[in-house]
Symmetry: C2
């Protein structure tokens, strides 16, 4: 059987999950064509897209066997195996486990709460979400808890899982940059988080 | 440096995330001591637990270096590397990516919606959750969408990702068994899902 190849990514440049994949690929030096889909026009909900891809999510990786891979982290893992020389999911048994743990915590405790505040609370987001405004309100304080958690972890680590930049940092920087959409500033006393943000923001991948 | 070893798991037998880890370990034939924590008494919110573990979640894996690993899937991945001969996160580049994709989809589209319905809607769950009842209500229809998605994927697959049982099946069976807590039955027309459930339920690991 021929080896399955990555053909292109269907994405939307404004979506944070898409940005996670773009940064990941830039870190690995992997180039791939990106095709844009207009999610604010609801194009990802159209029957043609959903039947082809199997869900309404972005981003999507089209593969040479005709299948489509969704879920940002699944797409990243595909490329981790494509170019394992620059490991972003960890190296040792412990580091791999800690990257998984922190990648998930940064999703569940920071990126999702920010997304919930925005998608369930901003009138412009009705095209993307059956809104539940109470859920937007409930998540706003959780965002600050997530920022405190990240700051605490960074008090004794250069990156989130020690000395090596990982996919956990990618999820976290995308979440932190997404704060502006809900008009939240990082509190000044979270200095380890602010220093980490300044350092990570200098990486060339962050502009991807 | 000595190799880091798994010492024990702190968990609660009734919690679905804990059950995921128990089934995973049973599939791999790995034995480890389990210590129970009473989450319905709020013991995981106590300062001593949170300071030790770094979060209020269960389950937690205690390691021989004195650290604690949380997040069910991170714990499972630790043990995947401990005993890779029985792979539950996939074998090839494509299978590993598809397991990641389906594991996540079964969490986000099925297990979390069920958990949200229960935790935000059942008065007994106030000890576990700052409840947002509207979020419970919003998630109930999503549970049925998740079951339809699972059934559709199983129309052409023995297990969720083809011929091999994986952690995606573990997440899905734990979710499906958790339906009783929100009094939802699998609709009769989802016959592929019902057949898969009957097959998976016969595995000895499921009683773990």
């Amino acid at each position: 059987m021929d080896r399955i190849k990555a053909l292109r990514i269907i994405e939307n440049r404004a979506a944070p999950n898409c940005r996670r994949v773009r940064i990941f690929l830039a870190e690995k030096g992997i180039e791939i064509p990106y095709d844009q889909i207009d999610i604010m026009a609801g194009d990802h909900f159209k029957t043609e897209y959903r039947e082809k891809v199997g869900t309404y999510r972005v981003p999507v990786l089209e593969l040479s066997d005709g299948s489509f891979l969704t879920e940002s982290i699944a797409i990243c893992r595909f490329f981790e195996m494509e170019n394992p020389e620059i490991p972003l999911f960890g190296r040792t048994q412990l580091e791999v486990s800690l990257v998984e743990m922190w990648q998930r915590r940064m999703e569940f405790e920071l990126l999702w709460p920010i997304a919930f505040v925005l998608r369930h609370g901003n009138p412009k987001m009705t095209v993307l979400e059956d809104q539940c405004e109470a859920w937007s309100v409930a998540n706003r304080p959780r965002v600050l808890v997530g920022l405190e958690t990240l700051n605490k972890q960074l008090t004794h680590n250069q990156f989130i899982v020690g000395p090596n930049f990982s996919v956990a940092d990618i999820t976290a920087i995308v979440a932190v940059n997404f704060l502006r959409t809900i008009r939240v500033e990082i509190p000044e006393h979270l200095e380890f988080l602010l220093n980490w943000k300044a350092t990570v923001s200098q990486r060339s991948s962050i502009g991807a």
